[in-house]
């Protein structure tokens, strides 16, 4: 094989976060000469999933990460796959459509996301949020009048972007959804909180426009791939798995992969870009797709990830007959619900994504709980409070023991505008549900890299590779 320096590369991609990896998938049948590098020694960038040992290595390299382990109870380090940025993926998400049409989904195991709960501080319990109309009907804790209002809203949302309904909300598009729910639908505070929680809004103050879109996504995703769930997660650590599959697809397509190698500098001339790699190899390429080099984060999230010694089975009941057992439960603490020991209430909601061992992220008999909230003073203490409130409210005879805690602040960075042949991809938004908006920059990068290609190109639509079959092996 020719040496790296002598090869005329068509595309050099730097970074293996979700977006770069989706670009890898998109280019996997292009026949181009592609070099894909990552300064990290692991796949997945900001969306990576780690064994406990890899967490330690990452923590040491990153700084400002705190890890505490219980004396006993943890299994061996590789029995865990801790996601840095867990997200649920609505079944109606364009991401899933692309994974299906590109056939990459065959190498990913998708599992169902189950119920959403709200923590009730008054009686330290968890209330399940009704998320389908059937749910609302059968719910006994909502007064009849509120039920009618809620049904009216759910009906509205299913058709919210069509003519009769559009006029209702467009004048208020940028108002808080909460106000709109109170004024237009007379929903009480509890139902407002339920609906805001379904949007997984990080600041709890989502606008009418974004909120309706988000609720619509949730409602219309329900039942798409099976009864009783609106979202899925990839097994073994979430988006990291999608990233690995995307990169493998491009490797199968002939690209060269180098981890632990970043880009030191790049100089663009008219016809080509000279790229210096961190291992002192200089390569020439026609296009360069790199990670953002803007250092100021646009958005940050305080995170606390805990492994607990319980299967928390009460959170993972299938609510509809014939539904797959859910492996993720969402528990929300609306703004003000979590408190520090000195009584300071949280300014923003706190969300806990509880992952059962079926996600492959921890051994049986344990769960991984991912908590996150917007940066605020005392964020760490508030997350700790939410975790212990949650564990106290799950209805176990003994409060489950916390075996492991990982706290850090996670950053998202914007990208500079792209030059003609140098494309910069931003880091993935830190949402808790995958936002399809992130896919646009990937497609734009693909369009740039394939602009000179002849013939018709269809984005992310491929045939199965030789040997990949779809039978169930009896």
């Amino acid at each position: 094989m020719e040496s790296l320096a002598e090869t005329e590369w068509d595309v050099v991609i730097s970074g293996t976060g979700l977006q770069q990896s989706l670009l890898a998938l998109a280019l996997s049948r292009s026949g181009k000469n592609i070099l894909h590098v990552d300064a990290n020694t692991y796949y997945g960038g900001n969306e990576a999933a780690f064994s406990l040992q890899e967490v330690d290595e990452w923590a040491a390299a990153t700084g400002n990460v705190e890890v505490t382990k219980a004396e006993g109870g943890l299994s061996f380090p590789r029995a865990y796959s801790i996601a840095l940025a867990p997200q649920i993926i609505h079944t109606k998400s364009e991401l899933l459509s692309q994974l299906v049409s590109s056939k990459a989904f065959r190498q990913i195991e998708f599992l169902a996301v189950g119920s959403f709960y709200i923590y009730e501080p008054d009686n330290a319990s968890l209330n399940r949020i009704p998320s389908t109309r059937e749910d609302v009907f059968s719910n006994t804790s909502i007064p009849a009048k509120s039920k009618r209002s809620l049904m009216k809203f759910l009906k509205f949302v299913l058709d919210y972007d069509a003519p009769p309904h559009r006029e209702t909300w467009t004048p208020h598009a940028d108002l808080p959804l909460r106000t709109f729910l109170a004024q237009e639908f007379k929903l009480d505070e509890r139902l407002q909180a339920d609906i805001i929680t379904l949007t997984l809004s990080l600041d709890g103050n989502i606008t009418v426009k974004d909120g309706l879109r988000s609720i619509h996504q949730h409602m219309s995703s329900m039942g798409l791939f099976g009864a009783g769930f609106a979202a899925v997660v990839p097994k073994w650590g979430g988006l990291s798995e999608v990233a690995q599959v995307g990169c493998r697809a491009l490797a199968v397509g002939g690209a060269v992969y180098m981890l632990g190698t970043g880009i030191k500098s790049a100089r663009a001339s008219e016809q080509r870009i000279d790229v210096s790699l961190s291992n002192d190899i200089d390569v020439k390429t026609r296009f360069l797709v790199k990670e953002t080099d803007v250092d100021t984060p646009t958005m940050s999230l305080a995170r606390l990830t805990a492994v607990v010694h319980s299967d928390l089975s009460s959170l993972f009941d299938a609510t509809v007959e014939g539904a797959p057992s859910p492996v993720v439960a969402v528990v929300a603490f609306p703004a003000g619900y979590a408190k520090t020991p000195d009584g300071t209430a949280s300014e923003y909601p706190i969300y806990a994504m509880v992952h059962s061992s079926e996600t492959g992220e921890c051994p049986k008999g344990q769960c991984v709980i991912y908590l996150s909230t917007m940066p605020q003073p005392n964020a760490k203490s508030l997350l700790d409070n939410a975790l212990s409130s949650l564990l106290g409210a799950v209805g176990e005879a003994q409060v489950p023991e916390i075996l492991y805690r990982l706290s850090y602040t996670h950053h998202q960075r914007v990208s500079r505008p792209s030059d003609s042949n140098v494309v910069t991809l931003p880091t993935l938004p830190l949402d808790l549900a995958f936002n399809d908006a992130a896919l646009a920059s990937v497609k734009a990068a693909w369009e740039t890299c394939t602009a000179d290609d002849d013939g018709e190109k269809e984005y992310m639509v491929f045939e199965d590779r030789e040997g990949a079959d779809n039978d169930d092996y009896e």
């Binding site: 094989m1 796949y43 590789r78 796959s81 079944t91 109606k92 899933l96 459509s97 994974l99 299906v100 049409s101 989904f105 190498q107 195991e109 998708f110 599992l111 169902a112 219309s220 995703s221 039942g223 798409l224 791939f225 099976g226 769930f229 899925v232 097994k235 073994w236 798995e241 690995q244 599959v245 990169c247 493998r248 697809a249 490797a251 199968v252 397509g253 002939g254 690209a255 060269v256 992969y257 180098m258 981890l259 632990g260 190698t261 797959p324 057992s325 492996v327 061992s357 079926e358 492959g360 049986k364 590779r465 030789e466 040997g467 990949a468 079959d469 779809n470 169930d472 092996y473 009896e474």
Partner: protein, 235 residues
């Protein structure tokens, strides 16, 4: 013995490892298609291949994963090793450095893969040695390659001793002539413990019960429901 009752069938994930150009893909092509291509290009284009192996008591369906070149700069992903029940670690017996590399991969498997993984160490390119003419020759062919047409640089004894030390299956093969190739896969099939064969998907290499349970939980994206599929472009 009657053929009336179908034999149980199990799927086994097998991963390939070894230095570039030792013949990993050629071995698989020989096994799967009974084919050999001289001067084959580095592996491009196959995500994985499948081939059945019939044992007296059961059928093993190998799902064979190629490195897709990601081993070249030590850039294999965790998903490559995950739930692999068998591994073929290949070296070129005309190239001593490739055995060094093979030992590295065995160590990597012991670190990364499921504890019960069956590993076969395979010295390929036997056709380039004098053994290929005298099939059962035991002589050491470490020197004098050109005179005798023997390019062997790694002795059978050395590799075999190492394989025994690490409890690996050991074979010398020729993907070119097909010598010993199907034997490697049959030996692997026989060596997979019965207990790890319970789940048809092979997902439960380390925890069979969990493997079965997740089978019921798995969401099949290939089956979008009619009701919701109208604007879902999974056509």
């Amino acid at each position: 013995m009657s053929e009336s009752a179908p034999k149980p069938s199990s799927s086994v994930k097998l991963v390939l490892l070894g230095e570039a150009a030792v013949g990993k893909s050629s071995l698989v092509l020989r096994f799967v298609n009974n084919d050999f291509q001289e001067n084959k290009e580095p592996t491009i284009g196959a995500a994985f291949l499948t081939q059945k192996c019939n044992l007296p008591s059961r059928t093993i369906k190998f799902e064979i994963w190629d490195t897709a070149g990601q081993e070249r700069f030590a850039s294999l992903a965790p998903m490559y090793y995950r739930n692999a029940q068998a591994a073929l670690v290949v070296y070129d017996l005309t190239k001593p450095t490739s055995l060094v590399k093979a030992k590295h991969w065995v160590a990597e498997l012991q670190r990364q893969a499921s504890p019960g993984i069956v590993i076969a160490l395979v010295g390929n390119k036997l056709d380039l040695t004098s053994d290929s003419k005298t099939a059962d020759s035991d002589e050491e062919g470490a020197d004098g390659e050109d005179d005798s047409g023997d390019a062997r640089k790694v002795s059978t004894e050395e590799a075999k001793a190492y394989a025994e030390e690490e409890s690996l299956l050991f074979f010398e093969t020729s993907a070119k002539t097909g010598h010993n190739v199907s034997e490697v896969f049959t030996a692997i099939a026989n060596a997979i413990p019965e207990t790890s064969l319970k789940s048809a998907r092979g997902a439960g290499a380390s925890n069979t019960a969990a493997g079965r349970a997740s089978e019921e939980q798995r969401v099949n994206l290939g089956n979008a429901r009619e009701s919701g599929s109208k604007d879902n472009c999974a056509c």
